[in-house]
Symmetry: C2
C-alpha cells in the first residue's frame, strides 16, 4: 500500500540521513520526500511517500518514535487529508504550438513562470494524479526539464472535500 508519512524532527544535521537510511536498510524505495522548516525554526517537517508492506512500515514508524531528534510521526495514509505537490516543467515551444500549450495551462490552472523564445517554464500544483496527467499531456511538445517537490499533506478538519 502507498503510505504518506509526516515526521516532525529537530532541525539538526544527521536526522534526515538516519530516517532515509532506515527505509533503505529495509529495501524500501522512497517515492518522494521533502523536508523544510515549520513555524518553529527549531523544528522541521518531513513528508515521505513510500509503497510497501503495511506491517513493515508500521515497524519502521515505531522505530522512528524511539529515535533521538524525532518529535512526532504520523501515518496519514488512512486519514482524510489534503495532499498536494508542485512541479516546475520546462518545455520546448514553437510559434505554432504556444497557443495550444497556453490552453492546456489554463485548463489545469497552471501558470507560466518563465519564458524564452524557445521555451516556457510552467508551475502546477495539485495531487499526484493531476500533476502526472499534466506532464503526460505536455510530453508530445518536448519536455526539457522537470522539478517536482514531492507530496506535502495534512489532515482535513472535516469530511467534506471542497476541492
Amino acid at each position: 500500500m502507498r503510505h504518506t508519512i509526516s515526521i516532525f524532527v529537530d532541525n539538526e544535521s544527521g536526522v534526515l540521513s538516519r530516517i532515509a537510511g532506515l527505509f533503505s536498510a529495509r529495501g524500501f524505495n522512497i517515492e518522494s520526500l521533502n523536508v523544510a522548516p515549520t513555524e518553529d525554526p527549531e523544528t522541521s517537517r518531513i513528508t515521505l511517500v513510500t509503497t510497501g508492506d503495511d506491517f513493515i512500515i508500521q515497524q519502521i514508524i515505531k522505530r522512528f518514535n524511539n529515535m533521538v531528534n524525532v518529535i512526532r510521526v504520523t501515518d496519514l495514509s488512512d486519514a482524510n487529508r489534503v495532499e498536494r505537490e508542485m512541479a516546475l516543467i520546462k518545455i520546448k515551444t514553437t510559434e505554432k504550438n504556444r497557443a495550444e500549450i497556453l490552453r492546456i495551462v489554463d485548463i489545469f490552472r497552471a501558470k507560466v513562470v518563465d519564458t524564452s523564445i524557445k521555451s516556457y517554464t510552467i508551475e502546477i500544483t495539485g495531487d499526484i494524479e493531476k500533476v502526472g496527467g499534466f506532464i503526460e499531456l505536455l510530453k508530445p511538445f518536448g519536455i526539457k526539464e522537470i522539478a517536482r517537490t514531492g507530496t506535502v499533506a495534512m489532515t482535513r478538519e472535516n469530511k467534506i472535500k471542497a476541492k
Copy 2:
C-alpha cells in the same frame, strides 16, 4: 553563502541517505530538500538548499560527482534561475476574521484548498521570501499547521525575469 544544488540520481534506495549523510558529516545543516521522480521513472531529482562555506560545498559537490548512482550535480547558486516552493498552511478562523484572511489570500494569489467551521487550509507558491512573508502575515490569526515543500529550482533560459 546560500546554495541551491540540483542532483540527478538513480531511483535506488540508499542514495538519499548517503547524500544527506555527506552533508551532516561535515556539520552542514540542510535548510530544505526534496526528492521526486523526473520524466524518466528510473531517475529522481533532488533539490537541496544549504548555507555554508563555499569551498567546502564545492568539495562536497565533487564527492557527489564520484558517487555511485549520482548522475549529475549542478550548483545553481550563481545561475539565473527560477526558484519556487509550495506551502500548505492551516489557520484558525472565526466569523470575524474570515473576510480579512481571504483578502490576504487574494493579494498573494494563494488559494483556500480546504475549509471547516474553524479553519482554512491555504496553498501558496512563490520564492522563499514570498512564502515566508505570507506566513508572517497569517501568524496573528493562529497557525495550526504548516507543511512546506522546500525549494525547487531550474535555470532561466534567458536573462529577462518575467515575474
